[in-house]
């Protein structure tokens, strides 16, 4: 009896010691020096691990920040300027301030204005359906409506609007990490500067077809008529391939282009309602308020 107790105690003790020895040797042999600075920087970062900075996670980004001499081209979109300032202080390096941006969906092709001409059967992800064909509508540039962007968003800042079949960005939650931009096979989502009070004016269309064809596919398509170009005082609008684009760097948010657009394809958000003198634009502004949901 005592023998067996003693035996087991000895055996276990021996095994334990052996294991401890192995662990000790292995940890010595494979010791990796870890810059404590990386840990400190990592703590400053938002720990969202969204990969919006281009690194696979916050830890990897912290490593990059610590190791690179010049960090002026590194930016954490989630933490924004504040976090980057703290990081710069901690590291004693320089950062460049960036304008905060927010994701916008550049397609207004709801089921009503952009009729479906075919039915798609297959896995409901944009990546696959874009590979198979140009989509259920006649517009080969617009939103496919399968919500890859929503699935990619790690901050619950997007949802699919059941009524329109289009994704909606909840501006307050958007960290501009850019995952949705990457997920969209049609490049519909763009990061645009979040100017004061989140005022934005942008073209909600990417259709490069000629006017008539674009309009037949979708009644709110940009037809490249260049009316907006004519009224823009700052030359912020370029028209290429029958499609207008408003460059946020030049746009002063004067709103002149919005009412002249014959297809209502220019979107303005968060502006106060217009004065009575232009009823068309007024209803449009109202529409937009509803469409961008969160902006209210």
């Amino acid at each position: 009896m005592t023998d067996s107790i003693l035996n087991s105690v000895l055996l276990l003790a021996g095994l334990g010691t052996l294991a401890a020895l192995i662990l000790y040797l292995v940890s010595k042999r494979f010791y990796v020096f870890d810059d404590p600075m990386i840990g400190r920087v990592e703590e400053l970062l938002p720990a969202a691990n969204c990969a919006g900075c281009g690194s696979p996670g916050c830890r990897a980004f912290a490593e990059k920040l610590v190791k690179s001499e010049d960090i002026s081209d590194l930016f954490c979109p989630v933490g924004g300027n504040e976090v980057m300032k703290l990081v710069a202080e901690a590291l004693g390096k320089e950062v460049v301030e960036k304008d905060p941006t927010v994701a916008v969906v550049r397609c207004q092709g709801s089921c009503e204005v952009r009729p479906k001409t075919t039915v798609y059967q297959g896995p409901r992800t944009c990546a696959i359906s874009a590979l198979i064909y140009s989509g259920e509508t006649d517009c080969q540039y617009g939103c496919l409506g399968d919500g890859d962007c929503v699935a990619a968003c790690k901050f619950d800042a997007m949802y699919m609007d059941e009524a329109t079949g289009l994704p909606v960005v909840i501006t307050d939650k958007c960290t501009s990490c850019g995952m949705c931009v990457e997920a969209c096979p049609r490049d519909i989502i763009e990061m645009r500067p979040k100017k004061k009070r989140d005022l934005k004016i942008y073209v909600g269309c990417l259709n490069e077809e000629k006017g008539g064809i674009a309009k037949r596919a979708c009644s709110v398509a940009c037809i490249g008529c260049s009316k907006c170009l004519d009224v823009c005082p700052k030359e912020a609008i370029v028209i290429e391939n029958n499609l207008a684009y408003i460059d946020p760097a030049y746009c002063t948010l004067c709103r002149k282009c919005v009412p002249v657009c014959p297809t209502h394809s220019i979107i303005e958000t968060n502006f106060p309602p217009r004065k009575e003198k232009n009823p068309v634009a007024d209803t449009l502004a109202g529409d937009q308020g509803v469409k961008s949901g969160s902006d209210a």
Partner: protein
């Protein structure tokens, strides 16, 4: 054409008419002969046991999917029905009904749905239910009503041992094989199915009939059942040849107990068996070997249910290591 827009989808645009549901109902059809034999042998209790098990499985699947998991209910796909029938086939007739319900709950709730439902379960649900009952209620689970003698009433159940149970007991008491075999049913009796045992273990003939149907309908391939039975036969033959006074002959091992039921219906469960033919053979050899080891050296007289569950756990590993040969990986260009 304007009212119903044309459909666009990726190729292929045709599909074979085999569906999961058809496969499931083919299995049910294959189980009918064995079920009829069990009702003939054990009478009404067999019917009650089967109906209870099936009902328990369907009800638990419905309740759990609807109220606990809040996913679409899939009781119509036939898989819970099969689990119920197979569970019943692995129980002795006349077992208390509440125990059957517990078995159903374990099979469906724990072995199947907690892993994610059909297709995700690692272990064969019916086997898990049976083994749970066997280790929890060993007495009731081995109270075998004797065949053909009490098929009218539940009350006067006369119980007897299964052939494998007799052998195990006899060997433990130091009896020699020739002494034991005097009390065993004949091979023909075992083949036709008038011995003691679980509901579905009865008639090898009925089970083989159903198994042949499954193979002809290409629901299962022959690899698993044939290999399991062959392994059992070969291994028991070796032991029998070494010491015929101590070990039963292979024929007894094949025909008695759940060997055929397990080999054709449990081990071949699509979800919990390997996907490649090579893997299937490896899997089946494992089942056969473990069954023999448990039968000859373990505490239980029968071991195929344990063997199947153990090998189920190896399936992901088998799938990883026994892959089909890739086309074109044989040789570097055979030049001339």
């Amino acid at each position: 054409m304007s009212d119903a827009p044309i459909i666009v989808s990726a190729s292929p645009h045709v599909h074979s008419d085999r569906t999961s549901r058809k496969l499931m109902y083919d299995v049910v059809i294959a189980l009918v002969p064995a079920f009829l034999v069990s009702v003939y042998v054990f009478g009404i209790p067999a019917l009650i046991t089967t109906v209870t098990a099936v009902a328990a499985c369907l009800i638990f699947e419905y309740l759990i999917q609807k109220y606990l998991m809040k996913v679409p209910v899939t009781i119509a796909d036939g898989s819970a029905l099969i689990t119920g029938i197979l569970l019943a086939f692995n129980l002795p007739a006349g077992i208390p009904l509440w125990m059957i319900a517990v078995g159903g709950l374990v099979a469906i709730g724990i072995a199947k749905l907690s892993f994610g439902g059909l297709g995700y379960n690692v272990f064969n649900p019916a086997m898990a239910g049976r083994v749970f009952l066997l280790v929890s209620f060993p007495v009731q689970m081995t109270l075998w009503p004797t065949a053909l003698e009490n098929n009218t009433s539940l009350v006067d159940a006369i119980t007897g041992a299964t052939p494998l149970g007799m052998i195990k007991e006899g060997v433990q008491y130091g009896q020699s094989m020739s002494e034991i075999s005097a009390s065993l049913p004949s091979a023909l009796e075992m083949f036709l199915g008038v011995t003691g045992g679980s509901l579905g273990e009865m008639s090898a003939l009925a089970l083989l009939l159903g198994g042949a149907y499954l193979i002809i309908r290409r629901v299962i391939s022959w690899h698993i059942p044939v290999t399991v039975l062959a392994t059992i036969a070969v291994m028991t033959a070796i032991f029998w040849w070494l010491d015929p006074e101590h070990y039963a002959n292979p024929l007894i091992h094949i025909l008695s107990g759940g060997a055929i039921l397990g080999a054709f219906y449990m081990a071949t469960d699509l979800v919990t068996s390997p996907v490649t033919k090579k893997g299937m053979v490896v899997f089946a050899v494992g089942i056969g070997a473990l069954t023999v080891v448990i039968r000859l050296f373990g505490a239980y007289p029968e071991g195929i249910s344990f063997a199947i569950l153990i090998m189920n756990a190896f399936v992901p590993l088998i799938n990883t290591y026994f892959k089909p040969r890739r086309f074109g990986s044989r040789i570097k260009a055979k030049m001339l």
